[in-house]
Every structure is written in structure tokens, then in C-alpha cells.
């Protein structure tokens, strides 16, 4: 970085920090009007409710929503108001408030029955956000809605549900990996209680690491990412864990074909402190162990587990403390006792988040988060004296300070600062044979990442609103490091190279009338950590690498416009969104890449650019016995690399021309619920074989242009029925059965194409066979779920 750049960055940083402090002091001392503030919670469990609506019932344009911690603040002129509190699926509550002084009002909402008129009005308020909020491409998915849908093997999976939304694609048959609006799998910021989850899949990605029983809320932001988020180009998947019931003890669980789950929660100190602990483990191969006994593979096993835990303590209305942790692991053990051959392949994530919420005053909410996360992949194998080990991983230490300042109904500000220390260990391989040892001697890479942001949600009038923000990011690769370019040595914590990025973000809403609005936005993003896969989907073996002097930060700009309309008194929400994405410094492997452990992956990369554009159509109904949505996306995603076919633009593997999802849930009776999904997508692009050629008396393949052929179109229908024997029982224990069918009409969707050749050179004959491999046929499953609540 030149000294001039450094100076410019220094001044930008100084201006932003000064702005933050001015804002902070203004926040603390300004008291023009009176403020109604407090927390919105679930009356039954004490769980805070995220994005609950708090509205002046007589003037709905004056309102706010609760934040991630359930806190709201509404500043209004002196006067009498009727304030409504509403949340999807809960009964509304109305309060007469005489605002002659700032007032604290904590509200507990009770879960409602869907046909209850009051609840319908609450849902109506929630749906108004479709046309009234400046937010675009943002979808909240309460976990209860996710649980109603069919799931493969009965394993409820958040990541597979978001794949049913327009603009979001599955990275492969049955895979929990996802692509958003033409972005790569590494361009999604996946957060679990603010901790980055670097590998969100179990069992080669067939299951996600998120145990639905421990999850409270999921928010997907696929466009118009607010300035408070950074570090990824495409999307944010922000997952909040439950806090635990602070009123009474509860146990919840399920017994399925693949795994079983158990969640225990309850108060530590009633109404002040609670805990939740939730575990899940697979056991299918444990059950197979007796069959393996005495075989060539005795001792071979595979399982994964997840453990989520959270504890919180409310010191006062001003101070709260949360601690949450996640521990998950896949373990694959291979044993071949007859030849003393073995390997263990464990990998998994650990995250820990400590958060302190503090109210400086009734308008200024502060959160401090200290986050630790760690992803490790290991392969350890050998035979007799020979031992071989591969290790890679990412470890982050992160501190975040975030402020929410609710100045008045016209302005609400968010600002904060974020620091992360990254340690990224590339594939370090070592081998030993008796006393002789070898290793690749790759050192971990270290980096500092800073983010500083400021945003304002401005309501100019009932018709026009603007959400404008800016994020300034700095990323430094740190020593110990020896430059590959000029051999200069850098000591511990000494910056080897620094990148900066100014990332303006803005989105607006113009309301034509109360049911119809236009929205638009532009989002600049930078990404400093990268994961590149030469596979058709991401694998635990894929390695995260930082920006270095070799690898430049990825940069993206997304433009989006949309029309949003609600129909029939808000019974139906509809939207059309158009987007265009321009991506720079995209990364891929060279065409002749060979997975060689002796080479650092960054030396195998090629760099290029990308573009993606599309139209998303969405129709949603969330009231009544029948609800669900239909989403359709028409899109194109392309990449160009100077070192790949001379820069020819080719379709990315994440390109799907057509993508349709139909998602329905229907309450057949009090006892029976039905869920159904239908998915149709254009076939995935792949690089076809162009022909075969003889070398060493064998036929070898050679390939046509990259991604120039498609697999067959993908489509599938899933169905589930849930039976609750006594839905209105007042008993503490309740059970339900879920019967589901995945791929109901047994569509043979191709997973991949394989070629085999059998050549007898001397006799001059050969057969070549192309095979289409299908993984998931019709799969029925049954799961028993239960709940016990202390009376």
C-alpha cells in the first residue's frame, strides 16, 4: 500500500471514528421527545421476540420493530397513544400510554390460535413489512414454520428450507450448501449467535450443522445487506439460538431414523436467568457395528453430533449477559485390521459467544460481543510404523461493539466497530515412518480485519424512506511471514500487506399507496477470506484462505430494484425483484489443477471476474389453514478468467436458468397437518467429455469447453403429514408423529455423470460406458417428536 493511500485511509478512519463518537454523545444526551422503550417477550417461555412490531395504532406510520435482543424504542411527542405490540403467530396486545415522560414498557405476548382475529391482525402487521420496509431481499424464517415442511429422513434442516426461496439454490442433490444470486458458496456469511460458521455441513454437506430445536430465528439477507454486516459478497444467514425458558423447565426431543435429538431448557433464576442445552447425534452406523464384527472392516464407523448451549442472565433492565456455545463434529473412522490399516477423519466447528447488552438510555441500545470460533479438519491415518496426517483450520477471535440509536420515528441509527484476528492454517501435511519424519512446513497465515459502520434508517414521509449506510473495512495480512514476491521477512503481528475498502450501501422505498411500493438498492461489498472448491460442491477438505499479497480481496456491487404489492387485505404478498451483480477478483483453480499437498493452494489459483443477473417472483400466503409460497427465479451467472479459455465468459456451476419452488402447508384437521414442496430447476452445468485418446494403451478422457453442458433438469416432490394425538391436551407431555416422503414420485435426478472404459489394447477392443448416478430415490421416513413442559 502506498503512503498516499495509507494517509487517505487514515483520514477516512478518523472521520468515521469521530462521527461515531459525536453520534454516541448525541445519543446519550439528546432528550427532545419522550420515549417508550422495553423488551418484547414470549409470555410462556420468556424468550425475547425478534422483529416484533411496535406501532401507534392510530397512526401506523409511527412505529418500530424490536431488535435481535427483543429491545424496542419509540420516541414520540408528548401525548396519549394506543400502542399495539404484534408478532407473527402471537396475540396482539394494546396499551394506552400517556407519554408525559419517558416510559419503560416490557410486553409479554402469548402464542395465539391462527383463526383468532387478533392474531390475523398481527400477521397483517408483519406482512405490511413487505411493502413498508426499505429492506429488500430479506426473509425471516421462524423455525416453527420450517418444522412444518417435509424433510429428508425427517431431519428438519434450516439450510434446505432457505433453498426453497427465490434466488437461493442448493449446491447439489440433498446438499445443505447454498448459492445466493449467483454468488459462490464462500460468499455467504453464516452466523450462529454472531459467530461465523465456516463449515455448515455434516456428512459431505447432506445435513446442516443447525439443529432446529435449538434455533429461534433465521434471517436471510440475499440483497441490500445492511452496513452492519461485512466480509462476504453475496448474502447473510443470521441464525439466533433460543435463550432458554426462564419461567419453567421444558424438555423437547425427537427420535428419527438417522439421528435423535434432545433439548432441555429452564430457568436458573426465575425470570432472570435461563439455560438451554440441545444435542443431536446420528447412530445409523453404530447400529451396524455388530454386522461389521469379524469382517475386513471391523471398527469402521461414522457419526456426527451437535451440541448447542446457551445461558443468559438479566442483571437489570439495563444490563443482560448471554453466553452461547456450539460444538459439532463429524467423525469417520476407517479400520482394516487384517492389514493394520486405519484412518480417522474428524472435522467440526466450535463457537463461543459472550454478549453484554447495555442500555445507555431508553434510546440507545449497546451490545458488546466477544466471539471465538474454530473450524478444524484433520486426517490421521497409517499402517504399522507409517503415519500420515493432514490438518487445516480457521480460528477467529472477534470483538464487536454495536449501537442501536432510536432517535425518533423518522431516524434510527446503527453504528459500530468490529475487530477479528484470524489464524488460517492451510493444509499442513506430515508423515512419519519410524524415526523419519517429513512435513510440508507451511506456516499458518495470520490477519487482522476491522470493520467500522454507520447506517441510518430514514423515513422522509409516509411514501419515501431510505436506508443509507457505509462500511469501512481494513484487512492486514500479518507476520510471521516471508514474502513470496521479494523474500522480505515480517515479524509477528507485523503487517505484510493491507487492503482497505469503502463499502457504501443504500436502499429506498417509495410507496405508491398503502399496498404497493417500489424499492431499489445498491450494495458494495468486500470479501477478505476465500474458499475455493474444485469440486461440484463444497467439502470439508476445502480450505479457507485469506487475502494475501497473492490473493486480492473479492469485490462485489449489487444493484436491485423491485415492486412489492399486497393483495386482498394483505392475505397475499407478492414481489418482483430484479438484480445485477458485478464481481471482481473472483477465484478459481486453474484447468490443470492437481490436488497436491506439497503446494499451497493460493499458488494454484487463477483470478477473474463474474456477473450475475436475474428476476425473482414471489407469491406468499401466510394466513389461514393453507399457507406457503411460490417462488420462481429466472437468472444467469457467468465467470471469466483470463487463464481459463482465454477469458471466455462461461456459465458458473451455480447458474440455473429456471428455478421454481412451491411450498405449502395445510391444516387438515386439529390432529393432522400436511406439508408439501415441489422443486423444479434447470440442470446443473458441467464440463462434458469431448472424446477419448490413447496413452499407454489406455483410453483417457479429454474435455470440451468448461461448463458447456447441462445435466437433466431437476425436479422433486416431497410430502409430509404430522399427527398430533391430543393437540389440545393440557398435559405436560405431548407427542407427535411425522411421516414424510422425499422425492415422492421417485424422480431419478442425476447426481453426477461417470465414465468407465475397459480397453484390451492388444485385441483392439474397448467399451466405454457413461453412467448417470442418482443418489436419493423415494425415501419414506418417520419421526417421533415429543415435548414436556413443566406445569
Amino acid at each position: 500500500m502506498s503512503s498516499q493511500n495509507r494517509e487517505v485511509n487514515y483520514y477516512i478512519m478518523k472521520i468515521l471514528i469521530t462521527a461515531l463518537f459525536i453520534m454516541l454523545s448525541y445519543s446519550i444526551y439528546s432528550q427532545d421527545n419522550f420515549t417508550l422503550s422495553g423488551y418484547v417477550k414470549d409470555a410462556g417461555t420468556g424468550e425475547t421476540l425478534i422483529a416484533a412490531n411496535v406501532i401507534d395504532a392510530d397512526n401506523p406510520s409511527q412505529g418500530t420493530t424490536s431488535n435481535t435482543y427483543g429491545f424496542y424504542s419509540l420516541t414520540l411527542p408528548n401525548g396519549k397513544y394506543r400502542i399495539s405490540f404484534s408478532y407473527l403467530g402471537y396475540k396482539d396486545q394494546y396499551f394506552e400510554v400517556d407519554l408525559t415522560k419517558s416510559t419503560e414498557l416490557n410486553v409479554d405476548l402469548s402464542e395465539g390460535v391462527m383463526i383468532d382475529e387478533i392474531v390475523i391482525s398481527a400477521e397483517k402487521e408483519a406482512k405490511r413489512a413487505n411493502v413498508e420496509s426499505t429492506r429488500m431481499g430479506t426473509i425471516e424464517l421462524p423455525v416453527e414454520n420450517i418444522k412444518k415442511l417435509p424433510a429428508i429422513f425427517g431431519e428438519v434442516d434450516i439450510l434446505k428450507t432457505i433453498q426453497l426461496l427465490p434466488g437461493v439454490l442448493s449446491s447439489g442433490e440433498g446438499n445443505a450448501g447454498f448459492y445466493v444470486r449467483g454468488g459462490g458458496p464462500d460468499q455467504n456469511l453464516v452466523l450462529l449467535d454472531e459467530a461465523v460458521v465456516y463449515n455448515s455441513g455434516h456428512l459431505l454437506g447432506f445435513f446442516s450443522v443447525f439443529n432446529a430445536d435449538a434455533i429461534k430465528n433465521t434471517t436471510l439477507i440475499k440483497g441490500g445487506m445492511p452496513a452492519s454486516y461485512g466480509g462476504r459478497l453475496s448474502s447473510v444467514l443470521d441464525i439466533q439460538m433460543k435463550e432458554g425458558n426462564n419461567k419453567k423447565y421444558a424438555v423437547e426431543g425427537g427420535i428419527g431414523l438417522i439421528s435423535s435429538r434432545l433439548t432441555i431448557q429452564g430457568p436458573v433464576v426465575k425470570d432472570k436467568s435461563s439455560f438451554i442445552i440441545s444435542g443431536r447425534r446420528t447412530y445409523i452406523l453404530d447400529l451396524a457395528q455388530p454386522a461389521l464384527k469379524g469382517s475386513d472392516f471391523e471398527g469402521t464407523n461414522y457419526y456426527f453430533y451437535d451440541l448447542n448451549t446457551k445461558w443468559n442472565y438479566t442483571f437489570s433492565n439495563k444490563d443482560r449477559l448471554y453466553f452461547s456455545g456450539y460444538f459439532g463434529k463429524d467423525v469417520f473412522k476407517f479400520r482394516q485390521p487384517t492389514r493394520d490399516l486405519f484412518f480417522d477423519l474428524p472435522y467440526g466447528n466450535k463457537t463461543g459467544t459472550l454478549r453484554w447488552n447495555h442500555l445507555f438510555n431508553d434510546k440507545l441500545f449497546f451490545n458488546l460481543s466477544v466471539v471465538y470460533n474454530d473450524y478444524q479438519f484433520e486426517f490421521d491415518g497409517g499402517q504399522e510404523d507409517f503415519n500420515f496426517r493432514i490438518f487445516s483450520g480457521v480460528r477467529d477471535y472477534n470483538v464487536k461493539l454495536d449501537f442501536d440509536y432510536y432517535a425518533n420515528p423518522m431516524h434510527s441509527f446503527k453504528y459500530g466497530i468490529n475487530y477479528t484476528y484470524h489464524k488460517l492454517t492451510p493444509n499442513t501435511a506430515s508423515a512419519s515412518n519410524g524415526e523419519v519424519e517429513f512435513n510440508t512446513e507451511f506456516l499458518p497465515k495470520y490477519a487482522n480485519e476491522y470493520g467500522l459502520y454507520f447506517l441510518d434508517d430514514i423515513k422522509f414521509s409516509d411514501r419515501f424512506s431510505l436506508n443509507a449506510g457505509v462500511r469501512f473495512s481494513i484487512f492486514s495480512q500479518l507476520g510471521p511471514y516471508t514474502s513470496k514476491l521479494d523474500a522480505q521477512e515480517y515479524g509477528t503481528f507485523e503487517p505484510a500487506i493491507t487492503y482497505t475498502g469503502l463499502e457504501p450501501r443504500a436502499s429506498f422505498k417509495y410507496a405508491v399507496n398503502s399496498d404497493f411500493s417500489f424499492k431499489g438498492g445498491i450494495t458494495f461489498t468486500n470479501q477478505y477470506l476465500h474458499l475455493v472448491s474444485n469440486s461440484t460442491s463444497t467439502l470439508p477438505t476445502d480450505i479457507w484462505v485469506p487475502s494475501t499479497e497473492i490473493v486480492k480481496p473479492q469485490k462485489g456491487i449489487q444493484y436491485a430494484i423491485g415492486a412489492f404489492k399486497n393483495w386482498k387485505n394483505d392475505m397475499y404478498e407478492t414481489s418482483i425483484e430484479l438484480y445485477y451483480k458485478d464481481l471482481k477478483n473472483q477465484i478459481d483453480y486453474a484447468d490443470n489443477y492437481v490436488n497436491d499437498l506439497a503446494k499451497e493452494v493460493e499458488d494454484e489459483f487463477v483470478f477473474g471476474e463474474g456477473r450475475a443477473y436475474g428476476a425473482e417472483f414471489f407469491l406468499k400466503k401466510s394466513t389461514g389453514r393453507l399457507n406457503g409460497w411460490i417462488g420462481y427465479t429466472l437468472s444467469r451467472t457467468e465467470r471469466s478468467f483470463p487463464d481459463i479459455e482465454d477469458g471466455r465468459w462461461y456459465p458458473a456451476v451455480y447458474d440455473r436458468t429456471h428455478d421454481l419452488s412451491v411450498v405449502l402447508s395445510y391444516e387438515l384437521s386439529k390432529k393432522w397437518d400436511m406439508g408439501a414442496t415441489f422443486i423444479y430447476g434447470s440442470g446443473r452445468y458441467f464440463t462434458p467429455i469431448n472424446g477419448f485418446y490413447l496413452i499407454e494403451q489406455q483410453l483417457n478422457t479429454f474435455y470440451g469447453p468448461r461448463n458447456s453442458a447441462r445435466l437433466d433438469d431437476y425436479h422433486r416432490f416431497d410430502l409430509s403429514f404430522t399427527y398430533t394425538r391430543k393437540p389440545e391436551s393440557k398435559k405436560a407431555f405431548k407427542g407427535s408423529w411425522t411421516f414424510s416422503v422425499y422425492n415422492g414420485y421417485n424422480r431419478k435426478n442425476p447426481f453426477f455423470i461417470n465414465y468407465t472404459t475397459d480397453t484390451d489394447f492388444e485385441s483392439g477392443t474397448s467399451t466405454i460406458k457413461g453412467e448417470k448416478i442418482t443418489v436419493f430415490p423415494l425415501i419414506p421416513s418417520i419421526t417421533y417428536n415429543f415435548k414436556w413442559n413443566q406445569n
Partner: protein, 312 residues
């Protein structure tokens, strides 16, 4: 076995477990241009063979290929010359069917197949009189002129780094009385990057190429390095994890040990990666060729042969 292989095996398990299915697939039958393919070698060292070049054409996807189709793949009447720095030598085209039995035997030996069971009319361009100066440190330019194209390539023959020791050992686990494991030692040269390849032969049945036949010295640069040298398995044989890589006690075995330059190594390294990495999680990879105007390889080898009887 790479991690990719392990993941592939795991996914095969998963497919079997889940009851997935496999169906025939025929790719779209668009006409693809037939490429010219070069496979030529020049060797130096004890027991090394004269230079030769095979020129064939690629074929599109066909479910079965018969003898006539194979015969037609050979490109005849090309002008093939090799320059060794001093002399430019034109190689002679020999087709098996045209050769008297004695010469056929010699040609078969050079090309590495059994002349008695070969129905295919293999045609090769051979330095029949062995005129080229084949030596360590030599540089060799190949030029092929056909009706369609002019194809060129250059290769070198690097230093030979021999096997300094062969050692027999009981295999891990059981049984160990009928099978043995071979350990070899080499003294890698620290000054330069070295690239190795090997074939094995049992009881004079012909050299067999292992699934992974090449390595560079990244892991043992400049070291005296002992490692197990797996017996090459025939591609048409059944894979048996209990005998994989092990030699039968009492057999006569022969090892062909080779060094090559980087471009030559890159070809085999990418080709073997491409051969061994099929499956759901492997993207394609393109083979790095050192030939301009065609697919394939023009490669120089420094070679050495080692013969042993596997002890009881």
C-alpha cells in the same frame, strides 16, 4: 489413496446405503473434431530403448470400439524427425502387420506388449537404427508433419537418481508368509527439483504401470529417503485390499525406475489425477501437454532396471 478417493468411497457407501441407482448415460452426439495424439519417448541409461513415437487420433464417445476402429486411429505416413542437438533423424514408420517375425519381436519389446497376442496393427515411428545420441543431459526436439498439421515438442533427459537399496519386509498384518513388502531407498538431489516414475514386472509377464506412478521430491527434497514401493496392479485385475501393493514371495520381479523433467512429470501427474478422480466431488481437470498442436507427450527418461527374487 487420496482424501478425495476416501470421500468418493464414502459417497459410494452412501449411495449403496441410500438405495440410489445407476443408469446408462449417452452424451449428446455432437460431432467433435478428432485431435491428433502424440505418445513418444526417448530414453538414456542401461537397458534403455531407442526413441519411438506413436501418432493416433482421438475418438468421440462410442459405446464399443472394435479392431477396425482401433486400427484406423493410427496416423500413417507422417514425417517424424527428432533433433538431438547435432543430428536430425527421421524416424521410420513400422506397422506390426508389415514386419517379419524377428523385427516384430524387437518392436514389441520396445513398445512393451506381447507380439503373439496382439491383433492390433500397431504403427509406430521408430529410430530403427538407434542413431540418436541418447544421453543424460540431452535435449531433443520433435517435429511431426502430417497432411493436417505440423506438431512440435521438446524434451530433455535429466540426471538419473538411482535406487540405492532394495529391502524386503513382512507386510503389515496377516498373512505374511506368502506376501512381502518392498522398501527402496534413494538419495534425492538437493540442487534441483527431481521427478520420478516407476513400473513393476512379475515373472517376465511385462511391465505394469501403477495407478499412481509419478512423484516429485517436495516431501523428501535432498534426503536419503526410504519408502515402500507398491507392486503395480493390472487395471483389468480385481482390487483386493489385502494384497494391494504386495509382492508374492518367490516371484522374480523387475523394477523400471525413471527420472524425467518437469514438463514430462506434469503430463503424467495431471493425467493420473484425471484418471483417478472421477466421482461426484471431482471437477474435471485438463491434462498438461508439452506438445504444440496435438494432445499427448514427448518425454525423455533417464532409466535404470532392478531385478530381484522376492525372498521367502
Amino acid at each position: 489413496m487420496t482424501i478425495k478417493d476416501i470421500i468418493f468411497l464414502a459417497s459410494v457407501f452412501a449411495i449403496l446405503f441410500l438405495g440410489g441407482c445407476i443408469e446408462d448415460y449417452v452424451p449428446s452426439t455432437e460431432e467433435t473434431k478428432q485431435e491428433i495424439v502424440v505418445e513418444g519417448f526417448i530414453e538414456a541409461g542401461e537397458g534403455s530403448a531407442p526413441a519411438y513415437v506413436l501418432i493416433t487420433r482421438s475418438i468421440p464417445f462410442l459405446s464399443t470400439i472394435d479392431l477396425t476402429t482401433f486400427d484406423d486411429l493410427f496416423v500413417n505416413e507422417a514425417k517424424v524427425t527428432v533433433n538431438d542437438g547435432t543430428n536430425t533423424v527421421e524416424l521410420t514408420e513400422l506397422c506390426l502387420d508389415d514386419l517379419p517375425p524377428a523385427i516384430k519381436e524387437i518392436a514389441a519389446q520396445i513398445l512393451g506388449f506381447d507380439p503373439d497376442s496382439t491383433a492390433l496393427n500397431i504403427c509406430a515411428y521408430v529410430d530403427l537404427l538407434d542413431v540418436l545420441d541418447r544421453k543424460i543431459g540431452g535435449k531433443y526436439d520433435l517435429k511431426i508433419e502430417t497432411d493436417e498439421a505440423v506438431i512440435t515438442s521438446t524434451t530433455t533427459i535429466p540426471d538419473f537418481i538411482p535406487i540405492t537399496k532394495l529391502r524386503w519386509d513382512d507386510p503389515p498384518g496377516t498373512p505374511s508368509d506368502t506376501l512381502a513388502r518392498l522398501w527402496v531407498t534413494i538419495a534425492d538431489n538437493e540442487e534441483e527439483d527431481n521427478f520420478y516414475r516407476y513400473f513393476t514386472e512379475e515373472n517376465n509377464t511385462g511391465l505394469v504401470i501403477p495407478f499412481s506412478s509419478v512423484t516429485d521430491d517436495s516431501f523428501f527434497d535432498g534426503q536419503d529417503f526410504e519408502f515402500p514401493l507398491n507392486k503395480a496392479e493390472r487395471r483389468d485385475g480385481d482390487f483386493d485390499p489385502n494384497t494391494f501393493g504386495l509382492y508374492n514371495r518367490g516371484d522374480s520381479i523387475r523394477i523400471k525406475w525413471m527420472n524425467m523433467d518437469q514438463a514430462h512429470f506434469d503430463f503424467w501427474n495431471t493425467l493420473e489425477f484425471s484418471r483417478n478422480n472421477s466421482g461426484p466431488f471431482s471437477a474435471f481437470n485438463r491434462v498438461t501437454s508439452n506438445v504444440d498442436g496435438a494432445l499427448g507427450i514427448w518425454g525423455g527418461y533417464a532409466v535404470g532396471y532392478y531385478e530381484e527374487v522376492v525372498p521367502f
